[in-house]
């Protein structure tokens, strides 16, 4: 058993086998899709009107939803992991609620909460004239609602695994909690935040049920690719698959590009 390079590709069989099975499990269905795709019809499908705008809307709204989730979710994760507010484990479980809620019910909940007649939404409407549903903002909110918990839970896990003594060292250097958070905690758990953001973005990109319920399905305004896929499934399942693959390729490209840059920054 000799090889060059320590820590190199020598992966123990007992890990390699399940890893390969896992990979196959995730990839074989994708292969199924690829094999059955009517490649000849692809150019026509992609050129169809609305595809570009749906793709653009999907990418923009998923990215915005991720931004919202980062801004709100990372602090939330920090509070859950670091502070000693009472009832923390209850709060933590509540955060996972949107994960468990069937997305359509999530959309209904959003309507009931933020809709024009919702618990909070009625005031938004009567006081400020803001009506969220059926707008692009609603798409972002629906996606954030469904995807943010992934970020929060992932980042909280990373925070728990991090060595808190570095934060203590920062405190002795006069850094208040915010400075410590910004300059020590966040950089040290950066890989966890990146993972969380990737999960969040991917989930937002694929979001369907809550979006169609809360934001409706208007081409150019709220029709993201998954909604377009849903409609295509009604009329032309092949087109639906082509559309899904298109979104997949874009997301894989984005993630490969992103990871390359991030990994460089971190390693």
């Amino acid at each position: 058993m000799r090889r060059r390079q320590p820590g190199a590709s020598g992966v123990p069989v007992i890990l390699l086998v399940p890893a390969l099975v896992g990979l196959a499990f995730l990839v074989i269905p994708l292969l199924g899709l690829l094999v059955r795709t009517p490649w000849s019809s692809l150019p026509g499908q992609l050129a169809a009107p609305g595809v570009r705008s749906a793709l653009q809307l999907s990418l923009v709204s998923a990215t915005l939803a991720t931004a919202v989730s980062l801004v709100l979710g990372v602090p939330l994760a920090w509070v859950l992991a670091r502070s000693r507010v009472p009832g923390r484990s209850m709060l933590r479980a509540l955060v996972t609620v949107p994960l468990v809620l069937p997305p359509v019910v999530g959309g209904v909940a959003l309507l009931l909460g933020l809709g024009r007649r919702g618990v909070l939404g009625q005031y938004l409407f009567s006081w400020f004239g803001i009506s969220l549903p059926f707008s692009t903002a609603a798409v972002v909110l629906a996606e954030a609602f469904v995807a943010m918990p992934f970020l929060v839970v992932a980042v909280e896990g990373a925070l728990r695994a991090a060595d808190q003594r570095y934060e203590q060292a920062a405190a002795t250097l006069g850094a208040d909690r915010w400075t410590t958070f910004r300059r020590v905690t966040v950089p040290m758990v950066a890989p966890g935040i990146v993972s969380g953001a990737v999960l969040c973005w991917a989930r937002a990109l694929g979001e369907f049920g809550a979006t169609i319920t809360f934001a409706g399905n208007f081409p150019g305004r709220t029709q993201t690719v998954p909604l377009a896929v849903y409609l295509a499934l009604q009329t032309d399942p092949q087109a639906a698959i082509v559309l899904s693959l298109l979104m997949l390729s874009v997301s894989v490209l984005v993630l490969v590009g992103l990871r390359g840059r991030w990994a460089g920054g971190l390693a």
């Binding site: 003594r165 570095y166 203590q168 060292a169 920062a170 405190a171 002795t172 250097l173 006069g174 850094a175 208040d176 909690r177 400075t179 410590t180 300059r183 020590v184 950089p187 040290m188 950066a190």
Partner: protein, 354 residues
């Protein structure tokens, strides 16, 4: 300075099976060394002072500010304490460059980015690390990392400085330099310093007061000279056994501040410290001829038996401590008032720039 100036601490805390119970008073501008065996509670004491661990009972105040007083429900968070800490395991931020590690404190305490970097660069250069400024801590050797940790703590100009074995990972030559730098800094430093060390020389050179703790309690306390002269246990005797003088060198001769003159090995110039262990002092009935460059008449002022050793306090110019065996005491008839010659070899004397 008011009467409350400096650090006043009454530290009591339980950690699992370990209990710490210690009273500390460190006047502003002075240095207290904590000595003691592994697990005695030295690091725990520093954590209490830094606010990383709250007191169970007791009280800590610095100058006129109460830092921790569980009885009164007062606790000042670490970041609000004007404290600098060198941790035993450094805790350098792995994601920041060496320069930014050192600049972290000044920036957190309000300096601009550029100003903080200037301060940091100056400190790095003083500690001989200027060329590593842009490196990541992971790329440093153990000793380099420790020096960065020292620079980081000093760069914030704290009113209370806590140093946990700040020189342990340094090699012999670096240690001399860093110790001098630290001493230079502490001399001009208006705040209180608590220093944990295992090295008696560090304690003697740097500290105004020594507190020896064992099992969480102070077993002896006083100025280095007092503790050295009257060690309560053999452990303490061994730990703090050093003759220490301050003087002014020109070449291999040093004029002591207290008036006498000693020959030393390496040539120096300017203010210096001289240190040699009591065991290095040979006593003779008559003035000996031979290699020892330093010979002067002394009178036995006191004896303290530590196991098989006897520590003698000798009056003279300069006054000096000597460790001799019980056999030598008998042979030379060293009773109080006895007059003998003390001899110290020049090569036995350690010289440090003061």
């Amino acid at each position: 300075m008011s009467s409350t100036s400096g650090l006043q601490g009454q530290l009591r805390v339980r950690r699992a099976e370990f209990t710490l119970d210690l009273v500390l008073a460190v006047p502003a501008g002075s240095v207290t060394a904590l000595l003691g065996p592994n697990g005695a509670g030295k690091t725990t004491s520093l954590s209490l002072l830094a606010g990383l661990l709250p007191l169970d009972t007791g009280r800590v105040s610095l100058d006129d500010t109460v830092l921790d007083d569980p009885g009164a429900g007062v606790f000042l968070a670490p970041e609000r304490r004007p404290v600098g800490v060198v941790f035993q395991d450094y805790l350098l931020f792995p994601h920041l460059s060496v320069l930014d590690n050192v600049a972290f404190g000044p920036r957190s305490r309000g300096a601009g980015r550029r100003a903080a970097r200037v301060i940091a660069q100056r400190w790095l250069e003083r500690l001989g690390l200027g060329e590593h400024a842009s490196a990541r801590p992971r790329r440093l050797s153990g000793g380099q990392a420790q020096r960065v940790a020292i620079a980081r703590a000093l760069a914030t100009d704290p009113r209370l400085l806590l140093l946990d074995e700040p020189l342990a990972a340094l090699d012999a030559s670096t240690r001399v330099e860093v110790r001098s730098e630290l001493r230079r800094h502490l001399r001009d430093y208006p705040g209180a310093t608590v220093l944990v060390t295992h090295d008696p020389l560090d304690a003697m050179v740097l500290a105004d007061q020594i507190v020896v703790i064992e099992g969480g309690r102070a077993v002896q306390q006083g100025s280095p000279a007092e503790v050295a002269r009257h060690p309560r246990t053999a452990y303490v005797a061994r730990l703090v056994g050093l003759n220490l003088y301050r003087g002014r060198a020109s070449g291999t001769t040093v004029e002591l501040d207290e008036g006498a003159r000693l020959a030393v090995g390496p040539a120096h110039s300017g203010p210096v410290f001289l240190a040699f262990p009591p065991s290095a002092v040979a006593l003779h009935r008559a003035r000996p001829d031979g290699s020892p460059r330093n010979c002067w008449p002394v009178t036995v002022a006191g004896l303290e038996q530590q196991g098989n050793l006897v520590r003698l306090a000798l009056a003279g110019h300069p006054a000096v401590l000597a460790d001799v065996t019980a056999a030598a005491v008998a042979a030379l008839d060293l009773v109080p008032g006895a007059k003998v010659w003390a001899a110290v070899k020049a090569t036995e004397i350690e010289v440090y720039p003061g």
